[in-house]
């Protein structure tokens, strides 16, 4: 078995597709894509070939009638291998900026297999939000690494592409979870700030000011090297992107204030449940958002924000002021009277009993239930229409073997909530790659890009389509025909 792992022989492959989505929004028909040494060598359009469904195809050539070929999906915000690895964030201090997630993530977690089977070929692994400074995020290919596990097939583990893809910071209440004031409890390392939303921002400011004075002292030879502060300086210099988890509208606006205060060149909002409420500010500041999941089903009723009817009202406000608005308490005329909303205790109970994935999450979903009351699956559509650069992430969806919550499902949901199908696909391919700092390597079908491709049974944004063949770095990683 182990002898097999060593020689990685990548066969040259040709894929013929009736429909090819380039990942940039463009669509070609009757295209031929050839792969060599794990890269896409060439893409040709309008090639006629004599292959039919039943004809014997030569070795290394793939043609499936009616199939749609897309770039491998890029999950721009995921907890793959994070929650299954136990506690990957050390709570001894809030500022573990130099802790690299790539070292402590479970790279042969079953979640990566689920991701590949759902067409996700690369993923941004985000540190959990239990600390203000969560550490260095990683960018990985979901297949092609050698698994440590004795029971996993060869090359089925994730492969780290970039171990320092971004520094992750969390706003909101997640990071304050567990901390307490020094009164009334035994003293331990948890007797510290932050214990509130304000305290979280205080900690961020304090560390960045520390980094600034450290830079000065270091220049004068007065300070010893500090790995955490070195990472923060990289962020301040724009050498490393800053991922900032912000769910509530006020957290998003706090993030924008921090960007101004410290002149952070490269900031990306993560999760952004209510970011649509600050869309004009985001567009003006040029800050992109990676939107986390906002499920629209009763069993995962995380999104309790505006309904589709309310959003239509927002999108097309009545010409005459106040005409279409109801007074509170007018149940008869509530626009969503037919929608059963589950809130409060019932929602907690439902989440606790019906969705196992929430048990695994340490910090990320703690706040998702408490924060972001105005979350809506329409966030990608609203942000895109406002001109905010935006991608979609699946968070912990692939930890579960269910495909109904997978990344492509989230893109489909966004389409149902007003996003154009072309844009939805862009948001899980080339745009996602751009926000992960991999714009020149993944997320597009073009010569020179990594040969990460998915052949779908139909249009990927149609609910009945599913991946048939998944290629990662030119290797057939999943054959689901």
């Amino acid at each position: 078995m182990f002898a097999l792992l060593l020689p990685l022989f990548v066969q040259d492959i040709t894929i013929l597709a009736d429909t090819l989505h380039l990942g940039t929004g463009q669509v070609l028909s009757h295209a031929v894509v050839s792969l060599e040494n794990g890269k896409i060598q060439s893409v040709m359009e309008g090639v006629s070939h004599g292959f039919s469904k039943d004809a014997q195809q030569p070795e290394g050539t793939y043609y499936l009638p009616e199939a749609h070929l897309t770039p491998g999906l890029v999950d721009a915000y995921s907890f793959l291998g994070v929650h299954t690895a136990g506690y990957t964030v050390d709570e001894t201090k809030e500022s573990g900026a130099a802790h690299a997630l790539s070292l402590t993530a479970d790279l042969d977690a079953p979640g990566f297999l689920h991701a590949v089977e759902n067409g996700v070929t690369s993923a941004f692994l985000s540190p959990d939000s239990t600390n203000v400074f969560g550490g260095l995020a990683a960018f990985v290919k979901t297949s092609g690494g050698n698994p440590f596990n004795l029971y996993r097939p060869a090359l089925s583990a994730a492969k780290v592409v970039n171990a320092a893809a971004a520094l992750k910071i969390s706003l909101g209440l997640d990071a304050s979870k567990g901390n307490h004031s020094p009164w009334g409890k035994p003293q331990d390392f948890r007797s510290r700030r932050p214990t509130t939303r304000m305290g979280t921002v205080w900690e961020i400011r304090r560390q960045f000011y520390r980094a600034l004075s450290y830079k000065e002292e270091r220049g004068n030879g007065l300070a010893d090297a500090n790995a955490d502060l070195d990472i923060m300086l990289q962020v301040l210099d724009g050498r490393l992107p800053l991922r900032i988890q912000a769910r509530r509208n006020n957290d998003v606006q706090t993030a924008l204030r921090l960007k101004d205060e410290f002149q952070i060149p490269h900031m990306i909002i993560e999760e952004g449940s209510e970011s649509w409420r600050a869309k004009e500010l985001l567009a003006a500041a040029g800050v992109p958002v990676v939107v986390g999941p906002a499920y629209d089903e009763v069993s995962r009723a995380v999104a309790t924000g505006p309904t589709l009817a309310e959003l239509r009202l927002l999108a097309n406000p009545p010409a005459v002021c106040c005409e279409g608005l109801e007074e509170p308490g007018h149940e008869d005329h509530a626009p969503d009277a037919h929608v059963v909303k589950i809130t409060g205790f019932a929602q907690d109970l439902l989440l606790a009993t019906t969705t196992p994935r929430y048990d695994a999450a340490a910090g990320s979903t703690f706040g998702r239930q408490a924060e972001g009351e105005k979350a809506t699956p329409a966030t990608p559509a609203l942000l895109w229409k406002a001109g905010v650069s935006c991608a979609i992430g699946s968070a912990e969806a692939h930890d579960s073997a269910l495909s109904e919550a997978s990344l492509i499902h989230q893109a489909r949901t966004a389409v149902q909530w007003g996003l154009s199908p072309e844009q939805a696909l862009v948001m899980v391919t080339s745009k996602a790659a751009m926000l992960c700092g991999q714009a020149k390597h993944v997320g597009q079908v073009a010569a020179g890009f990594d040969a990460d491709l998915v052949l779908w049974s139909g249009n990927p944004l149609v609910g009945t389509s599913r991946p048939l063949l998944v290629f990662v770095d030119g290797r057939l990683a999943a054959d689901l025909r």
């Binding site: 136990g86 201090k93 050698n146």
Partner: protein, 350 residues
Amino acid sequence: MLLSLLLLPAAIFLQDAPRPSPWLLRPTAIIQPDGTLLEGHEVLIQGDRIVKVGVDLELPDGTRIAELSGVLSPGFVDAFAFLGPREDYRPVTSSLRTADARSLEAKDLDEDRLSVGVTSFHLMPRPTNVLSGWGSLWGSGQSEARVKQSRASLSLLPDRVADRRLGPDSLPGALEILQKELPVIPKSTHFLNFIDTGEALQGWRSLQDDHAHHFVAMDGIFDFGGALANQLVGLPTAFSFLDARTAETWRRLKKANIQFAFGTAQGSPLTLRLAAMKLSRATKNPAFAMQSITTHAAALVGVSGIGVIAPGAYADLVLWSGHPLDATSRLKATMVSGMTVYRANPLEEK
């Protein structure tokens, strides 16, 4: 059979006196760790060491001869047994030594060890600190004459090193401490590195530390055994991870050319032979299993002269009624450093 026991060296009665006269042991057969069965071979011992092993040995003057009915095997080596008390004041307590902690009169547990053929045991500090201290190798039932300082203990077991007062409370915290501490630890230090996840292994590799080390997989080796090919790995016999696929896991580990060294950790000494028997059944390879509690265990501890029947080695020998890994075999007598320190009750031996 009773007669053979009476003929065993009488040195047990003369513990304090010097023992200049050599003994020749003539067992029915000798089993070596590599599985070879030597019939008609003799073992000449003098003092606490084996002098010669062979056929028709030339005997020095005054050699006394013991005819033994049974199979003679090397005494078993417990590759790591944890010391009871622990020092949790700090996450790094690298200057603690288990040799300082054990009462030399604490023979109760040694009696248990001798009754199941364990003649040497490696006492390690509990891996509850990131760097817990130094281990020591002991001869069962022996005084300080054989105590040797051995390996240092390094622990990347997040659940065990977690400390809610001082930190660290997870793997990244433990790694950060190691990053600071390892450069000041002497280069000659050899670690036993206690791990239970693939992430710990991954994190350790990222430190790129060049101290010599062996891994001890405290749990879940199925999750990271694939990355330990061609290595000697310590495994606990207290099977917290014993499940339906343990036997298959062990077969896969052997296929990856991983050598086992069993230690009892917090468990009973009895489990050492039981684990070897189970390994023997799982891999259908008694020699491989025998090595896991003799030569490979000695290699994990880093001490030569134990776990073998060879000239120069300690005369740590166990007499069995059959093959030591046969469940129906019974232990008849145990010798440590040339002294018969345990004998099965003759009444039970009928």
